[in-house]
């Protein structure tokens, strides 16, 4: 393995003969979901391999699918570094701004899609697993606030 100009040795190493660069990151700074997101963007032009390096680090190996020299590997490593940072930071921003992003997105799709037609309702599989509903939108008011539902018509109990 060789060092690449300007890249921290031990964190970024290259196998120029194989056309591969290895980047090792701190998993507390770059959580695995962020590494997935960054790595996936390289799948078209690289073979991408992920591994653990001890308990606290993740190793990313990018092997170029086409011939590449040291400068090319350096650029690849630099691009991956930038994408890792963007992915990690985006994850954090999304966590903090989730409410705002969700409400705008839901309004956008509610507005664009409009209500389902009768044919679409008929085709919908209500026996399917319920969708993820973190804001409890699909819950009835009674379920959400634990008030008792009024008794059904004809059943015992309730006011005569």
């Amino acid at each position: 393995m060789s060092e690449l100009l300007g890249m921290p040795p031990g964190r970024v190493d290259a196998d120029i003969g194989e056309g591969a660069v290895t980047i090792t990151v701190d998993a507390s700074v770059y959580p695995l979901p962020s590494v997935y997101a960054a790595a996936f963007t390289f799948i078209a032009r690289c073979w991408v391999f992920l591994d653990r390096d001890g308990a606290d680090r993740l190793r990313i190996v990018l092997t170029a699918k086409t011939p590449i020299d040291a400068d090319g590997l350096r650029a690849l490593a630099g691009e991956m570094s930038n994408e890792l940072l963007a992915s990690a930071w985006r994850r954090e921003i999304t966590r903090l701004n989730r409410g705002l992003i969700e409400s705008v997105t839901m309004a956008a799709f509610g507005g664009a899609m409009g209500p389902p037609s009768l044919d679409e309702l008929e085709a919908f599989d209500f026996a399917d697993e319920p969708f993820d509903d973190p804001l409890g939108i699909a819950q009835s008011w009674e379920d959400k606030y634990k008030k008792p539902k009024p008794p059904a018509e004809g059943s015992e109990g309730g006011t005569p």
């Binding site: 963007t41 994408e83 963007a86 992003i101 997105t105 309004a107 507005g111």
Partner: protein
């Protein structure tokens, strides 16, 4: 012995804000898009919460909802809601690529043109009707069908059928329906023009500058593309005048694509537009789709060069306005409308979330549906990422609710985007997932490396500098550029 409790005077504390330094000044915006430009010492006092509550500066900050103790959350929410009201409606711009055949070859063409004998790239009547059926399912009360190509005049019978069919179907729906056509005008004749005028189809064309520049970039075999187009601009504008229409409002719209050659000829380009009676000039930079990729080295340029050109050109346009020539620059008008009026003109590439799929759709000649024209261009280049349906088989809700469109809506929401989230221009700005995908490898992109971000940021820097330093006359000119005058003549069924 206890010390007396010190009471903090929080009357000068700032509410949530974002900022950007512009030389000796700082642009500050609130979460809902209120703004102020401060001198450096004013900004320092603002940040430290040391603005004198009795001062003029405090009054200005309070007026703009930037002071914490007087922050009006309800007002902020109302302003924010108003800016985002476009999200409640579905696609309003529907592009129909009626053919890929074209008689011109343009260096930056992002239409993946085909030769005139490639009749298999004509949209059929059946595909066109199915497309219209799907288009009119939109939840938007306003629909603009835009004919593109290739050159739409090559497949004029389908253009005619679409106008006829859509107008008829819309009678039962009551949408505000308009048609526009983007044409190089070289195949126009009096018969076609009479029909287009009678059926109130708006006409847009491309003018790249004076004849030499235009013809160098837009090749028409044996002829001058400039000479083939410009007489028709005059002819159409005269027809509007003869019909009693206000030509300050009704005239041929022209589009510009800025190439490397254009950068040094900004004055000639503006003069050319003025000479043809154009009231708007859109200084669009070249994009990375289509033929432009192959000829990138010839037409492309660093965005710093583009921004220098932009500043010179718009300064000149403002100067012309001072001399009574009414012409605006479209980018500036879009951003100024958002900045000065709190409204959003719903330009689909400059909004958050972006318009791909939920504000616009592109229907290709073969019936394949794309998120946008840019998505269609990537499809023509072999990348089907943004293909989201087929008019023969897809239901409307499946198209606009497609997983790709959902991903794009999230990717183009600037409140989730690194860099944007700290940028003061976030209330006014937008990104394009297709552009990010093409240039940066992901729909999300990385704004620090994005040429589109560089353009948007640079233009807004220029505008805020003007807003902070320009004289009253210039400010009034810029304010006039935000005036939206509806063009009701082009509404189908108008008056019914």
């Amino acid at each position: 012995m206890t010390a007396p409790l010190q009471v903090l005077d929080t009357r000068g504390y700032p509410a949530f804000f974002r900022f950007r330094e512009l030389g000796e000044r700082v642009v500050v915006t609130s979460i809902e898009g209120e703004w102020i430009v401060l001198a450096n010492d004013e900004f320092r006092a603002f940040v430290h919460g040391e603005v004198d509550p009795t001062s003029e500066l405090h009054r200005r900050l309070t007026e703009r909802n930037l002071v914490r103790t007087s922050f009006d959350a309800r007002r902020a929410a109302e302003v924010y809601r108003r800016r985002k009201r476009f999200v409640h409606y579905g696609p309003n711009l529907l592009i129909m690529v009626v053919t890929l055949r074209c008689n011109e070859t343009c260096v930056y063409c992002h239409a993946s043109r085909a030769d005139l004998d490639a009749v298999h790239t004509d949209m059929t009547i059946e595909t066109a009707e199915r497309t219209v059926d799907l288009i009119l399912r939109t939840t938007s009360p306003h629909v603009t069908i835009e004919f593109q190509g290739g050159e739409p005049l090559v497949n004029f019978p389908v253009v005619q059928r679409v106008v006829e069919y859509a107008t008829e179907k819309n009678r039962g729906l009551g949408k505000q329906l308009e048609f526009t056509m983007v044409s190089n005008l070289s195949l126009m004749d009096e018969t076609k023009l009479a029909w287009l005028l009678a059926n109130r189809v708006q006409i847009c064309t491309s003018i790249d500058g004076p004849k030499g520049l235009h013809d160098k970039q837009r090749k028409l075999p044996m002829l001058s593309a400039h000479d083939a187009a410009t007489p028709w601009i005059a002819r159409i504008n005269a027809a509007y005048r003869d019909a009693g229409l206000d030509t300050t409002l009704y005239h041929v719209e022209a589009l510009l694509t800025t190439t490397k050659e254009t950068l040094v000829r900004w004055r000639e380009v503006v003069d050319e537009y003025v000479a043809h009676g154009c009231r708007a000039l859109f200084l669009r930079p070249v994009d990375p789709f289509g033929f432009a990729e192959k000829t990138r080295r010839i037409v492309e340029y660093p965005r710093e060069d583009y921004l220098a050109y932009y500043r010179r050109a718009v300064d000149y346009i403002i100067e012309l306005n001072r001399n009574g020539v009414e012409i605006l620059e479209r980018y500036a008008a879009i951003f100024l409308t958002k900045i000065l009026t709190g409204d959003d003109p719903n330009f689909l590439d400059i909004r958050s979330p972006g318009g791909a799929g939920i504000g616009q759709l592109a229907y290709n000649y073969d019936g394949i549906i794309y998120s946008s024209d840019e998505g269609r261009m990537l499809g023509a280049m072999g990348d089907p990422t943004f293909a989201i349906g087929d008019v023969r088989t897809s239901a409307y809700r499946d198209v606009v609710g497609h997983p790709t469109i959902r991903a794009m809506a999230i990717a183009s929401n600037l409140e989730g985007q690194p860099d944007c989230v700290d940028c003061p221009y976030v209330p006014y700005c937008g990104t394009q997932p297709e552009h990010n995908h093409k240039t940066l490898g992901t729909m999300m992109g990385r704004m620090r490396e994005s040429s589109m971000c560089a353009v948007h940021k640079g233009i807004q820097d220029y505008l805020f500098e003007k807003l902070a330093t320009a004289d009253a006359e210039t400010l009034e000119i810029l304010r006039r550029w935000t005036t939206i005058r509806p063009r009701e003549h082009f509404l189908q069924n108008a008056g019914e």
